[in-house]
Symmetry: C2
Subunit: 794 residues, 2 copies
C-alpha cells in the first residue's frame, strides 16, 4: 500500500473498509495492456528528425506484464495516462479497420458501443426506478393496512380493482382494511392505537431489515452516495462501491428505508443505483472496462440518468450531472447523457409507477400568472432556504462527527431503530408527516384552486374528514382560501410537521441506510409555504395567489441552500411545471438561497461530507486564491530527507527493492545521476514493483545485483555480470513539470484541468521536488485553517 491511510476514513462516517467488499469497481488485475503491437508507424513525411536518444514511440504499452497500468484501491487515477491509453486503442482499431472487413465492422460496433451502453443504462435504471417506486408505494401502504383481494395490491390499486367506486371515493373501498379493522372486537377507541402500533412495528421491521442488510452484505450501500460518486468521478478508486452487491442491496434497502417512513429521499440513492448499473454494464464493453477515464464518462452520464428518473427531468438531470457531480464532462458526454436520461425517463413512464402517465413525480400545472410584488415573499423564501441550508449542513456534519468520534458510532443498528421509532411515533398522529414525503409534496404542490383538474385535492378533502381533524378546506377549491377554523388546525399541524421534519432529517441523513435529501428538503419547503400563504394575502379570498407555486419556490430555495445547485435546480423545477412563466420566481429564490447560504459557509452538503470523510477531491468550482508558490508546497520540505529518486542506470535490483520497501511514495522520479539531478522521467511504484517481481520470476539470471536500466541503449556491461533488467517501457518519459516559481493557483489549475496525480518541480533543469494531489489538498486545508491531516487518501 502506497501510503494510504485508512485509520479513520470511511463511508457513511464509519469505519468500513474495502476489505469487506468482495466485488470490485476496478476489476482489472487480469487485464493485460497490450495495445499497439502491430500498429504500423504513422506516415510522417514532413520530418523525421528526432533528438539523439529519442525512444520508440510511446512504449508504455509494449509491456505484457499483468497489472502494469492499473491502480490500487483508494488511489487516484492518472487521467492523462488513461486518456492516452484510450487514444492508442482507438488508433489501433482505426488502423486495423483499413485492412479487413471484419475489423471495419468491429470498428463500427466499437464506435456505437457507447450509444448501446447508454441505451442499456437508461433501460436498466428506468426499470429499477420503476420497480423501486412500485415496491415502496406498496410497502408504505402496508404499514396502514392490507388489501383483502390480495396482499400484493397497494391501497390505490386495491380500490381500482374494486370497481363501481366513484372517482371521488376511489381510495375508500371495503376491500382495503386497516390493521385494526382486521382484528375482531377492537373497541372504537382502540382502533387508532392499534393502527399506530402496527404502523410503528412495520416501520421498525423495515428499518431493521434495511440496516442489517446493509451491514451484512454491502456496507457501501448506505447513505446518499453522491459525495462518494463525486469523488469517484474526480478520479478516485473505491473498489466495490459501484459493484453488483452494492446495487442489489441498495435497491432493496432503499425500498425498505423509504417504506419505513424515515425522512429521506431517493434521488441520491437513485443516482448511486444508476451508477452501479453503468459500472456493471461497462464490464461488457472492453472500451470501458479497461479504461478508468472512459468509465468515468459513462458514470457522469449515469448520474444524469439517476436524477432523470428521480424527478422525470432529463434536461435537469444532465445539468445536475454537469454542474454538481461531474469532473470531466466533455461535450460528447453531454449528448450521450441526454440520450440516456431520456431513455430512462421514458422507460419509467412506460412502467408508469405513479399511475398518471406522466414523466414527473409531482406534475403540476399552474394557470394563474404571478405578480411582481410576489417577488418579495419569493426572496424571503430564498433567504429562509439559505438559512435552512446552512443550518442543516452545520447540524448534520456536527451530528455525523459526533457519531464518528463517540461510542454512538458503534451501534448503528440501534441508532437506526431509535430514529425510526421516533419518526414513526411522532409522525403518525400528524397527517402531514404520516403520509410519505412524495405524497405530501404532490398534495401541497397541487393547485387546489381549480376544482376539476386536481383529484389530489379531493383526496385531501376526503381523508381530511376521515381523520376528522384537518383541512377539508383545501378540497373545496377557491372557497377554501377563506380562512376557517379548520385552516388554523391545518396551519398548526403544518408548523409542527415542519419543525419535526427539520430535526429528524438532520439525524437521518448520514445514517447507515440509503438516504437522499432532495425530497425531505422539498417537503420542508412545502410546509413553510402553506403557512405563508394562508396567513398572507389570500385570506381575503382573492384569487391572487397560487399556493402550489409557493411550495415549489420554497422547495427550490431549501434545496438550493442545502445542495448549492443553481441552473440544474431551476431547470428541474422548470421541467416539473413545464412553463417558462415561473422561472423567474424559482430563479429569484434559488439565487437568494445560494447567496445567503454561501455567505454562511461555502460548502454544499456533499462537499461537507467529502471533507468529513477525507476524500481526495479537488473542488473545481472554488478558485484557489492564495499567493503561494510551488516551492511552498512541494516535498521534500527543508527539514525532510532528500527526495527519493532513481537513477537511469547504475542501480541494482536490490537497491531499487530496498527503496520500494523503505518508502511509501506512489512513484519515483528518474534522473540522469544523483549529482546532476536532471530529470529523465517518472516511474510508478506499483509498475516498478510488479515489473521487478516479474523479472525475478520469469527472466533468467536476474539476481539482486542485476542492474536496473531505464536507458534506451544498453551500457556496456562488464563481462560476466548478470543480465540487466530493462525497465524503460514502464518509464513515463513526459512527466508534468512546473518550476519552483510557478504560483500555486496555476499548479492547482493544471491539476484540475488535466487530472494529474503528481507533478515534478524543477528549477533551471534540476529536479527539486514533487507535488502530489494530496500535497495540494493538504496545502489547501492549511490555507483555510483546517487540519491538513483530514485528507486521508492518495
Amino acid at each position: 500500500m502506497t501510503g494510504v491511510m485508512m485509520d479513520n476514513g470511511g463511508f457513511c462516517n464509519d469505519n468500513y473498509h474495502s476489505e469487506s467488499s468482495d466485488d470490485e469497481l476496478v476489476d482489472i488485475s487480469d487485464v493485460t495492456v497490450n495495445f499497439s503491437e502491430d500498429v504500423p508507424p504513422l506516415d510522417r513525411d514532413y520530418t523525421n528528425w528526432r533528438p539523439n536518444n529519442s525512444p520508440k514511440l510511446i512504449d508504455l504499452m509494449d509491456d505484457t506484464v499483468p497489472g502494469i497500468g492499473t491502480y490500487e484501491d483508494f488511489n487516484t487515477i492518472d487521467w492523462v495516462r488513461e486518456k492516452s491509453k484510450d487514444r492508442d486503442r482507438h488508433r489501433e482499431i482505426t488502423n486495423k479497420s483499413k485492412h479487413s472487413t471484419v475489423a471495419l465492422l468491429f470498428s463500427i460496433s466499437d464506435a456505437f458501443s457507447g450509444w448501446l451502453l447508454m441505451l442499456l443504462i437508461g433501460l436498466m435504471s428506468g426499470a429499477l426506478a420503476g420497480g423501486i417506486d412500485i415496491a415502496a408505494h406498496w410497502m408504505t401502504d402496508l404499514k396502514e393496512g392490507v388489501c383483502l383481494n390480495g396482499f400484493w395490491f397497494n391501497h390505490e390499486h386495491c380500490c381500482w380493482a374494486s370497481n363501481e367506486t366513484t372517482f371521488q371515493e376511489r381510495d375508500k373501498c371495503p376491500q382495503w382494511k386497516s390493521w385494526a379493522e382486521l382484528m375482531d372486537g377492537v373497541s372504537e377507541g382502540r382502533v387508532n392505537v392499534l393502527n399506530h402500533f402496527m404502523y410503528v412495528s412495520w416501520a421498525l421491521l423495515f428499518a431493521f431489515l434495511a440496516v442489517i442488510l446493509v451491514r451484512a452484505f454491502a456496507p457501501y450501500a448506505c447513505g446518499s452516495g453522491i459525495p462518494e460518486i463525486k469523488t469517484i468521478l474526480s478520479g478516485f478508486i473505491i473498489r466495490g462501491y459501484l459493484g453488483k452487491w452494492t446495487l442489489i442491496i441498495k435497491t432493496i434497502t432503499l425500498v425498505l428505508a423509504v417504506s419505513s417512513g424515515l425522512s429521506l429521499g431517493k434521488e441520491g440513492p437513485l443516482v448511486h443505483v444508476a451508477c452501479c448499473c453503468a459500472n456493471i454494464l461497462c464490464h461488457f464493453f472492453t472500451k470501458y472496462r479497461r479504461n478508468e477515464a472512459k468509465r468515468r464518462e459513462v458514470l457522469s452520464a449515469a448520474s444524469a440518468v439517476g436524477v432523470s428518473v428521480a424527478f422525470g427531468a432529463p434536461i435537469g438531470g444532465v445539468l445536475f450531472s454537469l454542474e454538481e457531480v461531474s469532473y470531466y464532462f466533455p461535450l460528447k458526454t453531454l449528448w450521450r447523457s441526454f440520450f440516456a436520461a431520456l431513455v430512462a425517463a421514458f422507460t419509467l413512464r412506460y412502467i408508469n409507477p405513479f399511475g398518471n402517465s406522466r414523466l414527473v413525480l409531482f406534475y403540476v400545472e399552474f394557470h394563474t400568472p404571478w405578480h411582481l410584488l410576489e417577488l418579495i415573499p419569493f426572496v424571503l423564501l430564498g433567504i429562509f432556504g439559505g438559512l435552512w441550508g446552512a443550518f442543516f449542513i452545520h447540524a448534520n456534519i456536527a451530528w455525523c462527527r459526533l457519531r464518528k468520534n463517540t461510542r454512538l458510532g458503534h451501534y448503528p443498528v440501534i441508532e437506526v431503530l431509535v430514529v425510526t421509532l421516533l419518526t414513526a411515533l411522532l409522525a403518525f398522529p400528524n397527517e402531514y408527516t404520516r403520509m410519505s414525503s412524495s405524497e405530501l409534496i404532490s398534495e401541497l404542490f397541487n393547485d387546489c384552486g381549480l376544482l376539476d383538474s386536481s383529484k389530489l385535492c379531493d383526496y385531501t378533502g376526503n381523508s381530511g374528514s376521515t381523520s376528522g381533524s384537518v383541512n377539508a378546506t383545501a378540497a373545496n377549491g377557491l372557497g377554501a382560501r377563506l380562512a376557517g377554523p379548520k385552516l388554523y388546525t391545518a396551519m398548526w399541524q403544518l408548523a409542527l410537521a415542519l419543525a419535526f421534519k427539520m430535526f429528524i432529517t438532520v439525524a437521518t441523513f448520514g445514517m447507515k441506510v440509503p438516504s437522499g435529501l432532495f425530497i425531505p428538503s422539498m417537503a420542508l419547503a412545502v410546509h413553510n409555504h402553506e403557512r405563508d400563504i394562508f396567513r398572507g394575502w389570500c385570506s381575503p379570498g382573492a384569487d391572487c395567489i397560487t399556493p402550489g407555486l409557493y411550495a415549489m419556490v420554497g422547495a427550490a430555495a431549501c434545496l438550493g441552500g442545502v445542495t448549492r445547485m443553481t441552473v440544474s435546480l431551476v431547470v428541474i423545477m422548470f421541467e416539473l411545471t413545464g412553463g417558462l412563466e415561473y422561472i423567474v420566481p424559482l430563479m429569484a429564490a434559488a439565487m437568494t438561497s445560494k447567496w445567503v447560504a454561501d455567505a454562511l459557509s461555502r460548502e454544499s452538503i456533499y462537499e461537507a461530507h467529502i471533507r468529513l470523510n477525507g476524500y481526495p477531491f479537488l473542488e473545481a468550482k472554488e478558485e484557489f486564491r492564495h499567493k503561494t508558490l510551488a516551492t511552498d508546497v512541494m516535498r521534500p520540505r527543508r527539514s525532510d530527507p532528500p527526495l527519493s529518486v532513481l537513477t537511469q542506470s547504475g542501480m541494482t535490483v536490490e537497491e531499487v527493492e530496498r527503496l520500494i520497501s523503505d518508502t511509501t511514495y506512489s512513484g519515483f522520479p528518474v534522473v540522469i545521476s544523483q549529482l546532476s539531478q536532471r530529470l529523465v522521467g517518472f516511474v510508478l511504484r506499483r509498475d516498478l514493483f510488479i515489473s521487478l517481481e516479474n523479472a525475478r520470476r520469469h527472466q533468467d539470471g536476474v539476481v539482486s545485483v542485476s542492474a536496473v536500466l531505464f536507458t534506451e541503449c544498453e551500457s556496456p556491461a562488464s563481462p560476466g555480470a548478470p543480465p540487466a533488467v530493462k525497465l524503460r517501457s514502464i518509464l513515463d518519459l513526459s512527466p508534468f513539470t512546473v518550476t519552483v516559481h510557478t504560483s500555486m493557483e496555476i499548479v492547482v489549475d493544471i491539476f484540475r484541468k488535466l487530472g494529474l496525480r503528481q507533478c515534478l518541480v524543477i528549477q533551471n533543469g534540476r529536479l527539486l521536488g514533487i507535488i502530489t494531489k494530496k500535497d495540494i489538498l493538504k496545502h489547501m486545508a492549511q490555507m483555510a485553517n483546517r487540519d491538513p491531516e483530514s485528507i486521508l487518501f492518495n
Copy 2:
C-alpha cells in the same frame, strides 16, 4: 508586428483589415497594470523555506510601464496570465477590504458587478432585439403596401387601429393599401405587376442600403458573426469586431437585410449584437475592461443571450453557448448566462414585438401524441437534414472560395444586388417565399387541426383565397387533410419554394450583409415536411398526424446537419413546444442528421468558415488522434537556424534590440547561458520591446552597450560601465514545458485546457525548442492533409 500575416485572411471572406476599424475590442493601450503594490505578504506560518535564488512573489505585476501585459491585434491571448492577473486583483481587493469600510463596500460592489453587468446586457440585448423585430416587421410590410392612418404602422397594427374588423378579417382592412391600389387608374391586370415591381424595388433599396452601410462604416458587421465570435472566445484578439460602430451598423443593416427578403435569419447577427452590447458594457466595469479572460466569460454569456432573444429559449441559449460557441465556460458563467438569457427573454416579451405575449417566436402547442411508427419518417427527415447540411456546407464554402479567389469578390455591392433581385423576382409569385421566413415558419409549425387555437391558420385561409391560388385547405382544420385539388397546388408550390430556398441560401450566407442561418434552415425543413405529410398518411383524413410536428422535426434535422448542434438544438425546440412529449422525435432526427452529416464531413458550417478564414482556432470537440511527438512539431526544425534565445545576463541593449528587429517571434526563452541552454523563463516580444523603449527614454544613462539583466541579484559590474536595464519583472519565471517525448495528443490537450500561447520543449533540463498554438494548428492541418499555410494568425 509579430509575424501576423494578414495577406489573405479576413472577414466575410474578403480582405478587410483592422486598419479600417476605428474602435477597438481591446482598448487597453492606456491601462497601467499596477496591482499588488501594497499587498501585505501572506501569512505562511508553516514554512518559510525557499530555494536560493527564489524571487519575490510574482513580480510580473510590479511594473508600471504602460502596455506591458497587453496584446497586439490578431494575436492570441495567454489565458493563464490573464486569469492570474484577475486573481491578483481579487486578492488585492479582498485584502484591502479588511482594513476599511469603503474598501469593503467596494469589494462587495465588485463582487456584484458581474451580476449587474449581466442584467444590463440582458436588458440592452432584449430591447435591441425587440426593436429589430418591430422594425423588420414594418419594413417587410412596407414592400407590399402602406397604411393610410400613418406610414409607421405595419400591416397588422394598421388593421388593429381600424376597429370593428372581426377576428377573422383583422388583416384585411381598408386603411391598408397595396402600392398598386394607391395609384389611380391601374387596370386590374396590372395590379399584380405593379405590386411585384414595388416589391422588388423596395427589396433592392434595402439591400443596397445595407451593403453600402456595412462597407462604409463597419466592415466587421457583415456575415453571421458566429465563426469570429467563436474564435474571439477561444482567445483571439480582433479589435473593433465588437465595437460600437459594429453594433450600430449591424443593428441597422440586419433590419434592412431581413426586410429585403433575402434568405437569411437573424440569430447569428443577434448573437453578434448581444456580444457587442456585452463588450461595450464591459468598458464600464474595471474588472472586465482590463482582463481579456474575464471579458470572454461575459461574451460567452452574451452569446447565450443572443440565442435566447432569437428564439425565446433561454435554456437552449445557454446550452448553445456551452456546446457550440464557448471555449472557457466555468460554472459561474453557466449561472450568469442563464440569468442574462432570462432577463433578455423577459425584456423581449415585455416589448412584445410579435403581439402574442409569448416568449417565443414560433410558439406551438401540439396536443396529439405521436406514434412509434412515425419514428421512421422522423429518421428519414434526419437523413435528409444531414445530407442537406453536408451539401450546404460544401456548396457554401465552394461559393465563398470562388468569391475569394476570383474577380467576383471585388464587387460585393453588385453581388448583393443581383442576389436580392433574383430573390425578390422569384420569391414574389410564390406565396410561401414571398412572406418572410419567420412568418412562413410560424404558419407551417402551427397545428391547423385545432380550429379555435390557431389564428394563423385562419390567416392562411384568407390570404390563400385572396391570392386565389393556394391552400385555403389548411384553414379548414381537420377537414383540410382530405386532399383536394388546392392541396396539390400547395404541395407543388412548397416543392418549388424548397428548391428555390435551397439554392438561394447557399449564395446568401457569407455575403457582405448580416446574415444568419437558423431561420432559413428551419424554413427549408418546413417545406420538406408539408410535402411528406400531405402525401403521406393523412390523406385518408385520419387525425393521426400533427403536421406542425413534422415541420419542427424537419427544422431540427436541417439545423442539426448544418450546425452540428445536438443538445442545445433539441432543448431550443423543446422550449418552443414546451412539452417533453416531442423530445424523442426531435432527438431521433437531430441524432441521425448529425451522424449522416458527420459521416460526410466533420466540420460544421461555423468551423468551415473559421478554417476558410484561417483563424487560429483550436477545436475542443475533435480529439487529436495522431501519434506524433512534441519533437515533431517544435521549432526549430533540423534544417532551421538554432532557437533565438536570450541569456539571463551578458547581453547588451543593442544585442537584444537587434534580436527583436531580426526576428518576428512573439517571445523569447531566457536561458542561463548559450552553452548550457538551461531554461530560466520566457519573455514576450511586446513586453521586451516596450520595456527597452521605456528604459531608453526614462532611465538615465541607458545606452546601447548597457547590459540587459534578467537575474535577480545584480552581477558585479565593472566600474564605469553604464547602468544595467533590469528586466526580471517582465520575465515569466514559470513557462510551461513539455519534454521531447511528450505525445502531441497531450500537448494539444494542455493547449486547449489551459489556453496556452506557447510551450517550451526541454529534454533532461536542456531547452530544445518551442511549440506555439500556430505550430499546433499547422501540424493538425498537415495531418489532415490540408494546406498548413491556411493558418494565418498567431
